[in-house]
Subunit: 92 residues, 5 copies
């Protein structure tokens, strides 16, 4: 999984039927050498912009959504506690 | 998933039989540290060059196409709305 | 698999129900060109901060946990012996 | 999928039995920020050195080969037409 | 698959039970832009330190080992012949 910050909504009116009803959000990886990479994730736990989240990618992402036929490869699996002070810096 | 821009068609007369009938397009990732990476994706929702799209990769890509035996690892799952103003810049 | 160092705990009160009971840790890759990348992993072998560990990613991660329905894509599969002196430097 | 150029053969006399009969080739990614990355791919459509090809990676690669038990994670799925003039440059 | 050089053993006394009996080795990718990345792989074809090998990653790795329940995501599938003179340099 990776740690990321929610930075925006992504709106797509024309999309795969299977994606109807899913909220898609843009996240940016925080911490470490891959900080700054972005991806689009599905959110089913009502995270908000600015939240730090844990994202699961690959085939495991569909497990949270309970439907192995979804064309979704990344999903928010947790919202990191506000008082969880892990090191968010990129290495120098 | 990733956000990308459609930049060209890819034509391949000699190809796996299973790919017959699929439109293959070249996309370039937009936004974030991985901006500028390119990949070839299948398009079944009639996107056009210049469109900003959402691409699903890995085993999830085959889910949209409804055939688990396709040798396809990336597919367009949505066209981002023209008035969706997310930050497309790479981080400085 | 990758070699990594355990650097912190990650706490998330709001998370996928399936993650309840799993200890999530932040690791940083050691050695080689990808040194410094971080990821969140599940720990079921009681590793501690500072330990050097082996991490399996992707669908293989769920195999260790014995539940193919977990939204987990990275897991600690071993703790590297303290006297195992492999080269941990990044290439120059 | 990715676009790549075939640059060499890879010969391995000692190998997994399941790989017997498969031609393994070295390719280099062309175009975009990941240009210059190399990988070993299986070729079953008789591509030649210098050809520009489309490569599918991950579990989808086995789909083209019709055997889900092969330890192969990348395969050539098409040869790009000689007159297909997509932009092969890396971004500046 | 990728081409890599075997550079060391990795010893882990505390590990997943399923890994018992597997020899784990550290490899470094050779050639191309990703040269210098390292990973831990399982070896079942008795490769030695200094050998140049072909490594399969992802779910395909388990196929060589004949057990879909192993928490292993990378395996040596071949030893590159000593007289196979492919270009091992990174691009300039």
């Amino acid at each position: 999984m990776i740690t990321a910050k929610l930075i925006d909504h992504i709106w797509a009116t024309r999309k795969a039927d299977a994606l109807n009803g899913y909220k898609l959000m843009l996240v940016e990886i925080i911490g470490g050498r891959n900080a700054g990479e972005r991806m689009v994730v599905a959110d089913v736990i009502s995270a908000g912009i600015g939240d730090r989240v844990i994202v699961t990618t690959g085939s495991a992402a569909r497990r949270m959504l309970g439907d192995d036929n979804l064309p979704i490869d990344a999903v928010i699996v947790g919202i990191i506690d506000g008082d969880c002070k892990f090191d968010e810096r990129a290495p120098t």
